[in-house]
Structures are given as C-alpha cells and as structure tokens.
Amino acid sequence: MVCEMETDQQTEEMDVEVLSSMWPEDVGGTEPDNQFNVEKPAGDSDTLKEVEFAEKRTMADLKRLPDLLNTTDQGSSQLTNLVKQWEYMQDHAVRLLREELKILTKQREEAEAKELKIIEEHNFETEEPENVPVLDESSDLFRRFKEKKRDKLVGRKRIEIDEEFDTVAYWKQKALSLEKMLEASTERERRLIKKLNESLKTMESHSAPVEELTQNLKRAEGFLHFILQNAPIVMGHQDKDLRYLFIYNKFPTLREHVRDKDILGKTDVEIFHGGGVKESEDFKREVLEKGKASKREITFETDLFGSKTFLIYVEPVYNKAREKIGINYMGMEVTDQVRKREKMAKLREDNAVRKAMESELTKTIHITEETMRAKQMLATMSHEIRSPLSGVVGMAEILSTTKLDKEQRQLLNVMMSSGDLVLQLINDILDLSKVESGVMKLEATKFRPREVVKHVLQTAAASLKKELTLEGNIADEVPILVVGDVLRIRQILTNLISNAIKFTHQGKVGIKLKVIPEPSFANGLELNADAEEQNGLTETETSVWIRCDVYDTGIGIPENALPCLFKKYMQASADHARKYGGTGLGLAICKQLVELMGGQLTVTSQVDLGSTFTFILRYKVATSNDHSDDQDEFSDMVDHQPEPDDSTEGYFQFKPLLGSIYSNGGPVIGNNFLPHKAMLPTPVKLINGNTRQSESGYMDDTRLETGSGHCPESTHQYENGNGPCPSKESESCSSSQASSEMESEFTVSSPREDVKTETEIKETSKQPKILLVEDNKINIMVAKSMMKQLGYTFDIANNGVEAITAINGSSYDLVLMDVCMPVLDGLKATRLIRSYEQSGNWDAAVEAGVDIKTLEDKQLCVRSTNRLPIIAMTANTLSESSEECYANGMDSFISKPVTLQKLKECLKQYLH
C-alpha cells in the first residue's frame, strides 16, 4: 500500500505543508475543509517516510493498538476522534463519487450532443461533405471516430468511382451507407455509455481500497498521536525563509498565547523573543545552508515559556529536483536532564577539586609531620649531643690546665680542636635546619657596620696562625648606624673571613663595604615580607643597599667548582676537604642567611689569585638623633679624642707580626694580636706598643694602663652597643680594665694562663654587677660556685618579678635569666625589661601585675637608653627555644646544665 502511495506521488511538494499542518488541527478537530486534504494519498516524501516508519512499527503494533486505544483514556478520545474522521471521510468519498458521476454524466451529455451534431453534420454532409473534418477536430472521441469514418469514406469513394456518379442509385447507396454508419455510431455510443457505467461502478468499488488506506493512515496517525500526546516535543516544517508552514507543539502555553495562524508563515524571531531564539534561527539557517542534518542543544529564555532547554534536530528538506525547500525540525525539551547533567558535572568537578585538595592537604600534613618530627629530632639531638660533647670539650679544656708533657698536650690539642669541630658541625646543622624549616627569625637591631667589620677582623686576627694581613675598608658613604640582624650578619662575615683565611697562605684577607644603588635582583621582586618585617624595614623609612666584599689572595676556586660551592656538604674538591677540613656547611649557611634577609651572595674567583665573596643586603638607615646619648658621646669624643673617631673610621689593618707564640715558645699571655672583644680603638698601634712591652711575657698591668690611658672614651663608646656603661670617665676606665681582664682570660689557646694572677687582678678591679635569676636552689648553688671560680659575684633573684625589682633598684652589667620560673617567667620578664628600656618607665610591668616602687627618675632616664645584656639559661627543649629567647629580647642563651666553660665564654662576650 505504501508503495502504491509512493508511486502515486505526483503531487507537487507544496502539498506537504497542507497535509502536515493538519496534524495538530486534527487534534483540535477544526475546519472540515482542510480535512479534505488529509485523505489525499499523495504527500510529501518526508511525511511519507515518517508514515512508513510508523507503518513498520504499526505492523507489529496493530494488534496492540486497539487494546491500547480501548484501555486508555487517551485511546478512547482518540477513537472518538477517529470516528469523527471516518465520518468526514465517508462524506467526502460520497461527495467525490458524486462529483465523478457528475462529470461522467456531463460527458455523456456532451457525447449525446455531439452525436446529434454529427447526425446533423452528416445530414449536411450529403450536401457539403467537406465540412466534416472541421467539426471532427473538436473532440478526441470524434476524431478517432471520424478517421475511421474517413477511411471508410475513402474506400467507398473508390468503389463509388467505378459507378456512376450522378445517379439516384449512387445517392441511394450513399444514404444507405450513412444510415449504416449512424447505426454503428449509435452502437459505439451505447457501448461507451455502458463502459462509462462500468467505470462508474468500478469507481464506487474503488472506495474500498481508499478506505483501507485511509484507515491505515488513521491508525498510524492515531498511533503517533497516542505516543506523542504528552511527549515534550515540538515538530515543525519551515520553508527556505524559515517561515513556519507546519508546527506541532505540545506545549499549551504556546497554543494559548499564539494562535496557529499567528505562527504559520512566520519565523521564530517574529514569534518569540528572548534568549536562544536567535541562536536556534541561526542554527536552522546553518543546517539549511550546509544541507546536513544536525543536532544542537539550545536554551531558550522567552516570555512565553520561560527558561527551557531544547535538544533540537534539524534536517534539510529537498524536492524532487533536489532543491532545498526548507527544513524539518524537531525539538525535545531536556531542561531537567540538562540541569541534572550540569549538576552532575558540577558535582564531579567539585569532587575532583576536593580530591585534589585532599591529596594536597595530606601531602602538606605529611610534610608538616615530617618537618615536625625532624625538628623534634634535631632539638633532641642538639640537646642530647651538645651537652655530652661540650662536657667532653670542657673537660679537655680543664685537662689542658693541668700539668702535661709535650706529647700529652699535643694529643689534647687535637682532641679539643676535633671536639670544637664537631660542636661547630652540630651548630651549623642546627642553623641550617632552622633556616630551612623557617624557624629562623631575624632581629632588627641598630648596629655600626664599621664596628662589626672591625670586631670580625679582630676576632679572626686573634686566632690567626698565618702571616696574613687582615684589612677592613669601609666607604665614607656607608651610614654609621644601620638596622639589621647584626648577629646573623656577623655570623656571615665571620664565616666568610675564616673561610678566606683557611684558603689563603700569604697576602691579604679583607672586608670592603660600600653603598650601591638598588641591585637588579631586587627589582620587581620585592623583599620578602618576612624579611622586610624582620629587618624592620618599612617603605617610608630610608634604606640603603650595602655591598660587602670579602676578598682574599688565596688559592682561588676553579670555575667548574663554583656552581656547587654553596651546596651543603660540598667543597671545591675532595682533596680540598682532606687538606683544609671543615664541615662544608659554612657557605651554604651564609647563602641561606643572606637570602633570608632578602639579599644575594655571589662569588668571583681566579685560581691562584684569590676569591671574592660578595653579599648585597638592604639595611634601614638608623638616625642617631633618637639616641641623645650617642650624640653626647660623639661630641665628647671630639673634645677629648685627638685620634680619628672610631665610629667613622673607614680603614683597619691587622698586620702579621714576626714570632708568634707558636714559634718562640715563650709565655703566651700577651697574645700577638688583640684578642677578640678587647675593645681597643687603634689596634695596629696598640698591638705594636703592647708587643714591645710584653716581651717579658706578662704585661697585663702595663697594657691596662696603655689601654685606658690612650682611649678611655672610645672604649666606652664601644660598650654602648652592647651593654650598659657606667657613664662617667672613671667608670669607663674600670670597664676597660674589666675588658683587659677578659683579655687575659681569653682564648683556649693560651693554656698556661695563670689563673691566680687573673684572680688577683680581678680583686683589684671593679667588679661588674651580675644578676642571676633562677628559682632552683641547686642551680643557684652550682652557678654561684662557678662564678666564684671565675672571679665574679652576683645577686640572686628567684623569679621574674624579683628580677625586675632588682633591676629597678640598681644597675647591672649582665643578667643571667632562667626561662622557666614560677610567678613570672624569664621571657616575660625580659620583655618587660626591654619595654622599660625603650619607654623609660615600668608601665608595662605594672600592667602585667608587677609591683614596682617608684624610683629616682634621673638615673633611670639615662640608664633606660642602654641595653642591658640578658642571657637566657634554657633547658633547650622545644618550648624554650633559642628563637623564642631572641624574640623576647634576650641577647644570647646558655643551654643548661650550665658549665664553667659556657659561663666563661658568655661572660667574656658580654663583660668587656
């Protein structure tokens, strides 16, 4: 049947619209006029394809369909619909047949009329036979008839020619033959009518297949309707200009608001407004242009039906001549699905993100745990290794004071230097790990670069065993007072200098300081905020970049060794390591420290000519105005001091001397070089003078005189940086005496130092005032005994409050402060003391609940500007870390248990 229909397709493509557009209208059951077209078996190819498709399914479903139709509401409404349709169809068939009949009747009438005419003509023909052909042409039927007649006529003519032409017989014969012809014609007519009637009958009998066809069509339609009734689907056909020729729309809103008439013949854009409309129109146009079916998801945002997403399928439609005539499109609403899908995608994304974060977190936690464990381990190690080791070294030192023969002493020296090396290694490792784990904190303190350079060189000179010249050269523009972490800077300088000395056998080692413009590595890359904060740098304050070169005339570094120079445990070569020793950590620490402070450490070197290590750091320039005392002292200096002012002097030199203690074997008390921390302003001269006088070996008193006589004020000057200084001249003398004592006491390498003499001197000189803050009686007892042996006495405070009270009451040169104490711990007490030093009052302490009695203010104000050295005594646990001590304003720390050696070194450093 389908085939039949397809072969029947003669109708123009334009019929499609008419046919298709009926779909929705059928449902509404509207205009019967339009209905007419539905029955037309011919149709658009696509529609037919659809039907075909449905048909195939129908084949299988035909049995089920009636069931479905009977059992569902939809079905029954569908049935009513079908009945109605059927009635329409019947009506139409009848009408059609009638029309056919009418035509046939008309034809018959015509035929009869013609027949009559013919008869008449033939009547004429007897007179004017020429007329016949003219008439003959009017009808097809008659032409044939005529032709035959002519043939006959011709034949007759020929026969008749033989006869007489103008005879009655001839005419008679002619009349006869005409009569016969009439009969035949009548006969034919009768047959035709019969045939006509037959065909009429056939016509009627034809209605049966038409009906069947219609029914099948209906079934297919009903089936489609049944399925599509509630499907969220829009179907349509649009012409080349994308004007709707047909639309099936399930959505009631559209039907309510827009009449079909308002849709047909219009484009999407004309019907709808809002998001997505243009896009769908463009999409349809694209398909039309490309000629390829395509699908797309479009979200509409229109007033008519709100926000809905449609999956739209568009295919181009061609006519027989393969010309594009429009598009079919079908849209299915997938808003929920899209929403779900998006939700899923989002969930998946969230999930992925969360997973990534989780793994990141786990990693971080893992790393943190590792770091913590490592830190814990290091802290434990530092404590557990350092204590026994310092015990070993300490005992060895004590041992070196006993009577030993030459061999024993040599062995002991090796033992001590090895012990020192291991201690240094441990300290280095700890430093490094502190920097790496970010525990290292930087301090911002005011310091004098010239002094630092000088101290470092002095220290180096003191332990120098080679004939090297040490020199310091500081450019004039380098500020007198800058702010930075002086401890770390000193550490870096010391490290670099000792490194330089180690690899230099003759010539010079020196430090050069100069101000440079902002280096390129600092451009764009702002100082890391931490470092900035630590250095006390803020943008408003003036800062200065200082370049520091540490140069030597040593063995140099081959170029290929430069890259790994700053790596941990690396030395230029294995040979060097064997020859020169060292931990291989020093430069790594220097580099890390410099970088921590936001600077850069570089090196240039030439083999056999020497190396130059350069570090560039930014410092805040400290104004000395806020230190009124300093100013006073400067002016004092000018008055009393003919020699160049030490704080601005830019050049120092420490020259090697002939015959060191190691070569002459003489008494060692007067060291060749000024021992470190002996704060003498013009070292070269003094050293020369001293050496001359100290030939006999023991010249402490002389030197004492020389020192204090030449430069009482400048010695005094030095002390400002580090400790409270008794302000008047006599006191400064005594403090320089004190430093001389320390001098004589200084260094491990003067083993035969006469302890008794030392004690004697101490008795004659003024004692520095020391305060021990400690709550443990046993610790106090031990410390007291140690101090006694070192020749000092001290006051005791049992907790932080007592300490503050004591400091408030009298002036101290040094405080040894336990960290963990009842009532007020050492850290808090130190903070309060520092706050007092800055503000000149104990407000902070009072606020913290410490009962302070009012004091004579004058003395206070002067003293409050000096920084009282506070040394922490820590058990070296994590909770009492050295960082915390520094952070709370302590200057240094001694790890517990306190040993004679540690105490001695500390006092040496802080009591000049």
Binding site: I778, A875, P897
Partner: protein, 172 residues
C-alpha cells in the same frame, strides 16, 4: 682498710658511676643509642667536683645534700598530687620541672631523663603515664642517692683516716 687502697677504690667507684656514658661513639646515632646505657652520672658532676677547692671543700656534698633534701620533698609532693582523685597537672608540672633542673645540675642524668619523659606525660595529662614515670624517677633517684651516699662515705673514711681525697683523674 688501708688508705691507699681506699683512695683507689674511691676512684674506681667514682669512675664506675660514669661508666656507660664514657664510651662515646663517634656517630651521632651512636650517641643516641648510648643514652640507653648511660651511667648514673654525667660530666656535670665533674663540673661540681671541679668547683670544689680549698675555699669550698665540701661543695659537692653540700650541693648533693641540698639536692637530696629538695628531691625528697618533691617526690613526696608528687606522690601526693598523683594520688589525688583529680590530678592537678598545674601542680605536678612545676615539681617535675624543678626536679629535672636540679638533677641536670648535679649530673644525675638518669633522673633527669626520666623527668623529661615524666614532663611530657604531664603535658599530655596522662595520669597513668605519670604514675609510671614517678616510679621510674624514684627508682633512678634512689639509685643515684644510694651511689652518691656510698661515694661520700668512702670520701669521709679517707678523710677520717687523715688522707686526701684524690683529685679526679679526668682522662678516662
């Protein structure tokens, strides 16, 4: 007992108190392992002996006696505190810290180490751990007390016999 012999045995005895601690190995790991085998006293005790001289001839015994007095009291307080229904760790902690400081100062390293563990249990507020640690601390404390008392007795015997207490040879 003959004086020389007494002096010798005092030296030997003193040495034995340090014994396990003195085989310091070179490697860091070795040092940590050694902690388990450490002697009753560490080098800090040598520091005390070093501080003792003619001007202060009884320094070591004074300090140690003070340590005993102090520790007896602390241990007593700790026992009481830990036997309470609700343990007040704010009270316990300072005691342990004090004892750790004291023992560290006289070089009673095993007591000190036990205190370190004790203190960490205090920080965790672990009552059971504290009890165990208290027992451990007591054990170590009585050990060191016993040994030191023996040491002083030996010294007294030497002094009573009119001899000199030999200076510790530090080379071992």
């Amino acid at each position: 007992m003959e004086l020389v012999q007494m002096q010798k045995s005092l030296q030997d005895y003193t040495k034995s108190l340090f014994l396990d601690n003195l085989k310091v190995e070179e490697s860091v790991l070795g040092v940590i392992q050694k902690l388990e085998f450490m002697g009753v006293l560490d080098s800090q005790f040598l520091q005390l002996q070093q501080l003792q001289d003619e001007s202060n001839p009884h320094f070591v015994s004074q300090v140690v006696t003070l340590f005993f007095q102090d520790s007896d009291r602390i241990l007593n307080d700790l026992s009481l505190s830990l036997d309470q229904q609700v343990v007040d760790f704010k009270k316990v902690y300072p005691h342990v810290h004090q004892l750790k400081g004291s023992s560290s100062s006289i070089g009673a390293q095993r007591v000190k180490n036990a205190c370190v563990v004790f203190r960490s249990f205090c920080e965790q507020q672990n009552v059971e751990g504290c009890h165990r640690c208290l027992q451990q601390v007591k054990k170590e404390y009585y050990l060191v007390k016993n040994r030191l008392e023996t040491l002083f007795k030996l010294e007294q015997q030497i002094v009573a016999s009119g001899g000199m207490i030999p200076a510790m040879e530090l080379g071992f």
